[in-house]
C-alpha cells in the first residue's frame, strides 16, 4: 500500500516551487499507512486519555498519512497530532480512500490547538510545504475540521499555497454523510453539542486536579480541629467536627467538579458560579443530614462556617468547568471571576474566623 502511494508521488513531477522546509528532490515521503481499525490496546489508551496526564504523551508524528489507497485525486483531510483526535477521525473513514495530513499541534486536540494557534495558518502552510503535498495530489482542496477555524485563515492559506479550504463537519462521524451530500453541511453537522455524555467524559479531568489539592485542605482541617491547649489531639479530630469537615469537603468537590457539570442544563442561572453554589448548598444540606455529620455540627459557629465555605468551594470548582465547555466565552468568564474571586476570598476568610471562634469557645469550656 505504501509502495502504491509512493509510486503515485514518484510519477508526479514536482510542479510547485518547494518551500525552504522541504528536504530535497527525493519523492515526497509518506509518514505511514493507516486504516480504520482501532485495536483493543488503543481503546484502553483512549480510556486512559480521559482520566489523566497520559493524554499529554499521546501523540502521532506529524506528516502525510495514506488512508486506504488514495490516488492523486484523493481528498486531503487535515488533523491534529493528538492521537485520540487522529484515531477519532480515522475510525469514521471506513471504505474511504484519502490522505490525512497531521499537523504538529504538540499532541493537543483540534479545537484547543486552534484556539492556541498551533493548529493554525502558519503550521498548515509549513506542513503542506514539508510534505510536498502539491506533488502528491493533483487537486488543490483541503478538508479541515470545522473546529480548526479559530486558528486557520482559509484565505491566507489559499494565497500562500493555492490550496482551497473547506471546513467540514464538527464531528468526524459526519464526514461520510457530508461527502455523500456533495461536501455540504447540514446545520446539525456544524453545531457543537454538549450533551450528558460529552459532559460526563470530561468530569474525571475536573475531579482529578481538585482531589490532588484535597490533602492540603485535609491537613488544615486536621490541624485546626486537632489543635488543643494540650497539643494536637488526634482523638479530638473525629468528634470535634474534623471528620464532618473532611466529609463535607469531599462532597463539595463532588458537587463542583462532578454534579454541576453533569446537571449543568438543569441548574438555575446561566452563571457557572451560581450553578456551582446552588449545587453546593444542596449537597451541604443533604450531607449534614448524615448522623455522624449532624452530631459533630452541634455548634452554630461550625454550621455557619460550613454553609459559608463549602458551597463556595463547589462554586469555584464549577467555574473551572468553563474551560471544558463548548459555549462559554472569555468575556463572560472574566466577568464572573471579577465578581466571584473577591467573594470567594471573603467567604474563606470569614469561615476561618468562625472556626477560630469555635475553637476559642471550645477551649473556654475545657
Amino acid at each position: 500500500m505504501i509502495q502504491d502511494s509512493n509510486q503515485i508521488c514518484c510519477d508526479v513531477d514536482g510542479a510547485l516551487p518547494l518551500t525552504e522546509t522541504s528536504p530535497g528532490r527525493e519523492p515526497p515521503q509518506i509518514a505511514g499507512q493507516v486504516g480504520f481499525e482501532i485495536s483493543r490496546r488503543e481503546r484502553w489508551e483512549h480510556f486512559r486519555c480521559r482520566l489523566g496526564s497520559f493524554r499529554d504523551r499521546y501523540s502521532v508524528a506529524p506528516g502525510l498519512y495514506a488512508f486506504g489507497n488514495p490516488g492523486p485525486q484523493g481528498d486531503v483531510l487535515v488533523s491534529a497530532s493528538y492521537k485520540l483526535s487522529f484515531d477519532t477521525l480515522r475510525k469514521e473513514l471506513e471504505g474511504l480512500d484519502c490522505w490525512i495530513l497531521v499537523l504538529d499541534t504538540r499532541g493537543i486536540n483540534v479545537w484547543c490547538a486552534a484556539g492556541k494557534g498551533t493548529f493554525g495558518t502558519a503550521e498548515l502552510v509549513r506542513r503542506i510545504g514539508a510534505t510536498r503535498l502539491g506533488e502528491v495530489v493533483f487537486h488543490r482542496r483541503l478538508l479541515l475540521p470545522q473546529l480548526a477555524a479559530p486558528g486557520v485563515n482559509a484565505a491566507e492559506v489559499r494565497r500562500q499555497t493555492e490550496f482551497k479550504i473547506s471546513f467540514g463537519p464538527v464531528r468526524a462521524a459526519d464526514i461520510p454523510a457530508y461527502m455523500k451530500a456533495g461536501y455540504r453541511k447540514t446545520p446539525a453537522m456544524s453545531t457543537v453539542s454538549f450533551g450528558l455524555r460529552d459532559r460526563l467524559v470530561l468530569t474525571p479531568m475536573e475531579l482529578n486536579p481538585a482531589l490532588k489539592k484535597f490533602p492540603w485542605f485535609a491537613a488544615m482541617a486536621i490541624l485546626l480541629f486537632g489543635l488543643q491547649r494540650r497539643g494536637i489531639m488526634f482523638t479530638d479530630i473525629w468528634n470535634g467536627g474534623g471528620m464532618a469537615f473532611l466529609i463535607l469537603g469531599l462532597t463539595a468537590v463532588a458537587s463542583g467538579a462532578f454534579l454541576t457539570p453533569v446537571l449543568l442544563p438543569f441548574l438555575p442561572c446561566r452563571s457557572f458560579a451560581v450553578k456551582g453554589w446552588i449545587a453546593g448548598l444542596a449537597v451541604v444540606f443533604l450531607t449534614s443530614l448524615i448522623p455522624i455529620v449532624s452530631a459533630a455540627m452541634n455548634s452554630r459557629l461550625l454550621l455557619f462556617a460550613a454553609y459559608l465555605l463549602f458551597p463556595v468551594i463547589s462554586s469555584y470548582l464549577a467555574l473551572q468547568f468553563t474551560g471544558s465547555t463548548t459555549f462559554t466565552g472569555m468575556s463572560g468568564v472574566r466577568k464572573e471571576l471579577k465578581i466571584t474571586l473577591p467573594v470567594y476570598a471573603a467567604a474563606a476568610a470569614v469561615s476561618l474566623f468562625l472556626l477560630i471562634m469555635f475553637k476559642l469557645t471550645e477551649w473556654g469550656k475545657g
Binding site: 486536540n109 484547543c112 484556539g115 485563515n153 456544524s190 474551560g323 471544558s324 466565552g329 468575556s331
Partner: protein, 96 residues
C-alpha cells in the same frame, strides 16, 4: 445552553459583507445566517468568542475579542500577566 447575556464582544458590520458564507460555515453555534445574500446575526448570546468568523471574514466585517473562555486560564493570566492561554503545553493535564 447559553452563557451570560449581553456580554460577548462580537461586532458585525453588514455593509461590508460580501455574502461569502464563510461565517456560517465556521461558527459552531449558528450565530450567523444568510438573509438576502448577506450574513445576519441571529442570537449574539450564543457566541463563545472563538474568533473563527472574524479570522475567516475576508471582508473584515466581523470583529470579536477572541480568547479562551476558561477560568483557570484567566486566573493564570491575572496572576502571571499576559493573555489567557490554557496550560496544555506545560503538561499540567488539567486543561481542555
Amino acid at each position: 445552553m447559553k452563557y451570560l447575556a449581553d456580554i460577548v464582544t462580537l461586532e458585525y458590520n453588514a455593509e461590508l459583507c460580501t455574502g461569502c458564507r464563510r461565517c456560517v460555515e465556521v461558527c459552531p453555534h449558528q450565530v450567523f445566517v444568510i438573509e438576502n445574500k448577506r450574513a445576519a446575526i441571529t442570537d449574539r448570546d450564543r457566541c463563545m468568542e472563538c474568533g473563527a468568523c472574524a479570522l475567516n471574514c475576508e471582508a473584515g466585517a466581523i470583529m470579536v475579542d477572541a480568547g479562551v473562555g476558561c477560568a483557570t486560564a484567566i486566573i493564570n493570566s491575572i496572576i502571571g500577566g499576559g493573555e489567557p492561554s490554557c496550560g496544555c503545553d506545560s503538561g499540567s493535564g488539567s486543561c481542555c
